[in-house]
């Protein structure tokens, strides 16, 4: 009898589930972000299929041509097709998004888990370290490290990784601290599970969604920072086509051949937006699902 009282009338059920299904979909802006990322992924995986010209081929008959049907993004000061170079550069910039964040995400997560679970003086020491590190300008520190190691993509990854893991560790630490107070963590301890098993099999999966969302945001930041360093000459080195490097190539012709810089720049803005919209959408989706 009491079961019937709890169950909703049959007529209400479809109406109640329809919005639920809608809630389970990614929000429209998240889908837009995902679509942009897919497009760039396609450019990165098979640039030779999409790009109309060889990105490195000089054509002295078509130097600094404005956008036209043959060259939709125009040509640069060596007659290279800007569209093709922008497409090929997606490879390098997506690589930056992944490689500049991979180590910080993995190492920072591990460190954050262990620090959050350990607590005590380890945690106190870490918090002091974070308080200090956040006051040091991130870009300045990365530039200083690149200065010592020498310009180039690999050294840029090393420099960003050396500093970037701390943010993930801070995020993970507070998540784990919140999770370890929950009953299921206590249950795991009562069952006699080892610490590592509780941390990585039980706490981490429950604490992972903020991490995923931050990772997306961080990838968009990595593209911005990577292209900035490329522009300054500290990141990807010419003739590698990278969006920041392409903009730097065009900066001396800004008034006569604006297309050389504007189109690669638009690619950066779109790429950054792709990751951040997708990340925001993911956050909303995860929140609704929970």
């Amino acid at each position: 009898m009491s079961d019937e009282a709890v169950a909703p009338p049959a007529a209400l059920r479809p109406a109640a589930t329809a919005p639920r299904r809608k809630q389970l979909r990614l929000p429209a802006t998240g889908l837009l972000g995902g679509a942009i990322l897919l497009l760039f992924l396609l450019c990165a995986l098979a640039p030779w299929l999409i790009a109309p010209y060889d990105p490195l081929a000089f054509d002295y008959m078509a130097i600094m041509q404005p956008p036209s049907w043959e060259h939709p993004f125009g040509t640069d000061n060596f007659g290279r097709d800007v569209l093709s170079r922008t497409i090929w550069a997606a490879q390098v910039d997506l690589q930056i998004a992944v490689f500049a964040t991979l180590f910080p995400a993995i190492f920072g997560t591990l460190a954050g888990c262990l620090i959050g679970y350990a607590g005590g003086w380890v945690d106190a020491l870490f918090r002091r370290l974070v308080d200090v590190i956040v006051t040091i300008p991130f870009v300045v520190l990365v530039i200083a490290i690149v200065a010592v190691l020498g310009p180039g993509l690999l050294n840029m990854y090393i420099a960003i990784s050396a500093v970037g893991w701390i943010i993930y560790a801070r995020l993970m630490r507070s998540e784990i601290i919140a999770q370890k107070k929950r009953d299921y963590a206590a249950a795991g301890r009562v069952m006699g599970y080892g610490r590592l098993r509780i941390i990585f099999r039980h706490l981490l999966p429950n604490a992972a969604s903020p991490l995923l969302v931050y990772w997306m945001t961080d990838m968009s930041l990595a593209i911005l920072l990577g292209s900035s360093l490329g522009y300054l000459g500290l990141g990807a080195q010419p003739p590698t086509a990278e969006w920041g490097v392409l903009i730097a190539d065009g900066k001396n012709f800004m008034t006569t051949a604006w297309w050389m810089s504007i189109f690669p720049g638009t690619a950066i803005v779109l790429g950054g937006m792709g990751f951040s919209l997708f990340g925001d959408g993911l956050a909303t989706w995860l929140r609704r699902r929970a």
């Binding site: 300008p137 530039i143 010592v148 800004m254 008034t255 604006w258 720049g265 937006m273």
Partner: protein
């Protein structure tokens, strides 16, 4: 009373920052390949100069003694001489610092001037096309790298319309303000987008709060409610956020100064990297880190003044 406590803690933190940065820079300089004395002095240094520098660096001493010496030199601002410019690094920094301070200060003010009215507009007209347009503006602004914003503003407003100079700084304070307007706007845009989003969220939260409904029901004019009740309570998180982003503002200044050819410490840093002038890079890293911590300290005091709950 509690302000004193916060300031004390912050001063300790600045000391800790100096220590950590010193450890980092000291460690980094040890990573440099080859002879540190030769690296600091450049290839063309005479043998005596190198011997003197080796002595000064104390390469033959134990590592802790070397570090202690290094720390003492950093704290007393003795960063050594610039290899390329042949002047003391500290005087070089002192000469270039005011421009960078002016630039970042202007950028912070501009960011607030852009963010606060737009956030208000967006929050009050929530869900309208104005709100949508402002949110798109914020989304695009955060996704634009600083150097690209700078270049776009350069081509359109400086080179195209000729409203602003294309770079450098002026003579005298007022002309500096004019020359630095575009660079400051460049720096301010992405920060303003971050502030705008946050302020919009907290404004919406406050607008829905019961005490605002009560104030309106009392018959207080709309403007007074927004100023006294809404803004005052939404302010605090914005100031916190501004503080957290001072570091990125300084980082952005390094890039902006390069784009606009502004003779500040950011440009000095990039130039020094390419001329392998490590004494300058090392001095600048320390000075910038300390500078940002000092700003943190000042903002903490502002925050404590705005919100009595802070720090208790």
């Amino acid at each position: 009373m509690h302000i004193v406590g916060i300031l004390g803690r912050r001063l300790l933190q600045i000391a800790a920052t100096v220590l950590v940065v010193a450890v980092l820079v000291f460690g980094l300089m040890r990573l440099l390949p080859g002879d540190a004395a030769l690296v600091l002095l450049g290839e063309r240094a005479s043998d005596e100069a190198i011997a003197r520098m080796r002595d000064q660096l104390g390469v033959n001493q134990p590592i802790l003694a070397q570090f202690w010496d290094f720390l003492l030199r950093m704290v007393t601002l003795r960063f050594g001489d610039s290899v390329t410019l042949r002047v003391p690094v500290s005087s070089l920094i002192a000469e270039r610092l005011p421009v960078t301070l002016l630039l970042t200060g202007m950028a912070a003010v501009l960011a607030l001037l852009i963010a606060v009215p737009l956030a208000f507009w967006s929050a009050v007209r929530r869900g309208s096309w104005v709100d949508a347009a402002i949110r798109v503006f914020a989304q695009v602004s955060v996704s634009m790298p600083v150097f690209y914003i700078g270049l776009v503003l350069l081509i359109t407003l400086a080179a195209g319309l000729r409203w602003f100079p294309v770079g450098g700084i002026g003579t005298g304070f007022l002309e500096d303000l004019y020359y630095l307007f575009l660079p400051a706007l460049t720096l301010a845009l992405s920060l303003s987008a971050i502030l705008l989003r946050n302020l919009r969220e907290s404004l919406i939260e406050v607008l829905d709060a019961e005490y605002v409904g009560f104030a309106t029901a009392k018959g207080l004019p709309r403007g007074l409610v927004l100023r006294r009740h809404v803004l005052r309570n939404a302010w605090v998180s914005t100031v916190t956020l501004l503080g957290l982003h001072i570091g990125s503002l300084v980082g952005g200044a390094v890039i902006t100064e390069t784009v606009f050819a502004i003779p500040g410490i950011g440009r000095l840093m990039i130039d020094s990297i390419f001329s392998r002038d490590y004494a300058v890079v090392q001095g600048l890293t320390v000075v910038l880190a300390v500078l940002v911590s000092v700003v943190f300290l000042a903002l903490d005091a502002v925050q404590a003044a705005l919100d009595p709950r802070v720090g208790t």
